[in-house]
């Protein structure tokens, strides 16, 4: 809601799934900045054009923390595809992020 980054490289997403990701941060902390940068990089690398990334700053919207059961900051929530997955931390461990969010396009 705060920052809505639509995929810009490809107008029409290729067939298959899209990823809806939400990153919860609390202000511009080092961990938050790193998490956003890392997440954006992984998405571009693995699912370019097939993701939506939403960054929510809880300092400005504290009421949103309850909805996604956010405790740790930063947290990225994969809303789509189901089931909901969460990855916490600054996302510096790429392997874990990819596994956690399942960011690998399935080949059809």
């Amino acid at each position: 809601m705060e920052v809505r980054e639509e995929t810009s490289h490809v107008a029409q997403p290729t067939a298959g799934e899209t990823w809806e990701l939400r990153l919860y941060v609390a202000g511009q902390t080092a961990k938050s900045v790193a998490a956003l940068a890392n997440l954006r990089r992984y998405c571009e690398q693995h699912v370019p054009g097939r993701y939506q990334l939403e960054v929510i700053d809880l300092l400005q919207h504290p009421q949103l923390a309850e909805g996604d059961q956010i405790l740790a900051i930063p947290t990225v929530v994969r809303k789509v595809p189901e089931p909901i997955r969460k990855v916490i931390g600054d996302l510096s461990n790429e392997e874990r992020v990819l596994v956690g969010l399942d960011l690998r396009p399935q080949l059809r």
Partner: protein, 577 residues
């Protein structure tokens, strides 16, 4: 926040406290939990940690107008609301009134992947938002240990929890944190390390199949507090911690005298009864009419127009009524006038504490002037000796403070050894102690009553025999025989013996009477004889005298005639004149 802190100008500032509103807890903590600081409530499963925490919040809203936040890590808001609805806590309504905010934190390890450094700012933000949105003064975290199962990095978690408590203190909210009890430690995750202000330990133990819950304040920094283990209960009205009364011997006393309901018994006391507000113990072996005496006392209170509460631990109300009717005591009208209430329950139905709380509650509701507990000795079946004793101490104190006259009956076992000592050891607590006992003689058993003590009053030292008759209880006069006081058949035989002696004496007296009469009659007869004899003699004498007289007169006449014939102026000398 600051202006809420009570400040005593005369003395040093005391630690400000937030009253919990929980029955009894504020007395033990001397005012409540430390204001604006976290308190840890720990205990094993099922001992009411969550309930205590929720009651703290609800009472805070209802009684002190302090809104609260409940952050729950285990149960959902709906589950909690349903769980505490039975205690009369309407959480949804409080939420709607913006006095309470529930936030359920859902943690699922399988959903969470850890990838790099993180902190728990999200939790802080949520909690901060919840506190600020309703202006909360009280916060409950139930059970924060659940975080340990949700986050793998314990080092981060511990530092974050430490930061959380610091942050809550800075926010100035009074916080209750619940935690599961661990093996050998107060909490499983060692949370007591972080919460250093106040730690309350709840304990749930089963002894002889009876569960008692106990509360202890392990630590309370900056304040004195009760240090004992206090029993507590979860009742329909929430948690209540005992003692409800403070154990200080400072109650007012009355100088008014109340009748025992048995006239003969009253007479054994110098002031014809016992003091209002005193406690009376009635001990006796089985079948010595303890209940009957107690019922007469209850009826007497009702006759004065006072309310009496009768706890029957052995008989149902109907049975008690029937049995008392057999001794000429009809309690039914008193019940109809709402002067008498009989509460019957088996002692084993509840633990001791629940009995005590029931008593407190009923006395609070009914406001009696007299209370009968029949018998207290049955309570021993639900607790150990020391527990029963401490419960009774509390009960007696409570009754005295309320100026309620109390009568307890107690069954003493054994005909010889333990007669002078009740098993509960309450005899030192009561003011008046009456003992009823079997006086077993040759082939029979009689009831004897004596007063062992009566504080503040002289009393009879006699053992009085009494009878339970169709017209009530009768104390018989003391009969002293050749070998002391005589009862029962001995009394009867003594009476027959006396009667026989009386008859013998009567006969003797009659006989003497008759003898006297006889003597009198004999004497009278003798007197009559003598008198007859005397009359005879008298008559003889009179007759002789008369004849003499006649002869003399005749001689005089003869001489006169002779003188007239010879010389009238010459009188010859009269021979034999």
């Amino acid at each position: 926040m600051q202006e809420d802190i009570p400040f005593q100008l005369a003395s040093l500032p005391r630690l400000p406290k937030a009253p919990t509103g929980i029955d009894g807890l504020d007395e033990i903590t001397e005012g409540g939990l430390p204001l604006g600081r976290p308190t840890l409530v720990c205990g094993s499963a099922g001992c009411g940690k969550t309930l205590m925490a929720i009651e703290f919040l609800v009472r805070g809203v209802q009684e002190f107008d302090e809104p609260g936040v409940l952050m729950t890590f285990e149960e959902t808001a709906e589950e909690l609301a349903a769980n505490v609805a039975s205690l009369g806590f309407d959480l949804p309504q409080l939420q709607a009134a913006k006095k309470l905010r529930l936030d359920h934190v859902h943690l699922d390890r399988s959903e969470i992947e850890e990838a790099g450094e993180y902190d728990l700012d999200g939790l802080f933000i949520r909690l901060g938002y919840a506190i600020d949105s309703i202006g909360a003064k009280r916060v409950v975290l139930d059970t924060i240990e659940a975080l340990f199962s949700g986050f793998p990095n314990e080092a981060v978690l511990r530092s974050e929890i430490r930061r959380l408590f610091r942050w809550l203190k800075d926010k100035g909210v009074t916080t209750v944190i619940t935690a599961e009890r661990g093996e050998g430690t107060l909490t499983r995750q060692g949370l007591e390390e972080y919460v250093s202000d106040c730690v309350i330990l709840l304990d749930n133990r089963v002894i002889d199949q009876i569960t008692t819950r106990r509360l202890r304040i392990v630590k309370y920094r900056g304040s004195t507090h009760g240090t004992n283990e206090y029993p507590y209960l979860i009742s329909e009205d929430g948690l209540s911690v005992l003692p409800v009364t403070s154990l200080k011997l400072a109650h007012q006393v009355s100088d008014e005298i109340l009748s025992s309901g048995v006239p003969g018994l009253d007479e054994m006391f110098q002031r014809r009864g016992w003091y209002r507000g005193s406690s009376v113990l009635l001990t006796g072996t089985a079948g010595t009419a303890k209940t009957t005496l107690a019922a007469f006392f209850a009826a007497e209170a009702c006759r004065r127009g006072e309310r009496c509460l009768y706890f029957a631990f052995e008989e149902s109300p109907a049975q008690l009524l029937r049995n008392m009717r057999s001794v000429g005591l009809d309690l039914q009208p008193f019940i109809e006038q709402d002067l008498l209430r009989i509460e019957a329950a088996r002692p084993t139905l509840n633990g001791l504490e629940r009995h005590l709380v029931t008593l407190h509650k009923l006395i609070g509701d009914y406001q009696p002037a007299a209370v009968v507990i029949d018998p207290i000795s049955n309570l021993i079946s639900v607790g150990s000796l020391s527990e029963v004793r401490s419960m009774l101490t509390r009960m007696i104190d409570f009754l005295k403070v309320s100026n309620i006259t109390a009568l307890f009956t107690a069954l003493v076992s054994g005909r010889h050894g333990q007669l002078e000592m009740t098993e509960e050891g309450v005899s030192s607590l009561v003011d008046t102690w009456i003992s009823v006992r079997d006086l077993e003689g040759v082939g029979e058993r009689n009831r004897g009553l004596s007063i062992l003590k009566a504080r503040g009053m002289a009393h009879s030292n006699q053992v009085r025999e009494f009878l339970v008759t169709g017209q009530g209880i009768q104390l018989l006069d003391v009969v002293i025989g050749p070998e002391g006081i005589i009862t029962g058949a001995g009394r009867l035989s003594q009476r027959i013996h006396e009667e026989a002696q009386r008859v013998v004496h009567q006969h003797e007296a009659d006989r003497r009477e008759r003898e006297l009469e006889r003597k009198r009659r004999m004497l009278e007869a003798t007197i009559a004889n003598l008198r007859t004899e005397f009359e005879t003699v008298e008559e003889e004498l009179r007759r002789t005298s008369h004849e003499e007289h006649l002869r003399e007169a005749a001689q005089r006449d003869g001489r006169a005639a002779r003188a007239t014939g010879a010389a009238p102026d010459y009188l010859p000398p009269v021979p034999n004149a």
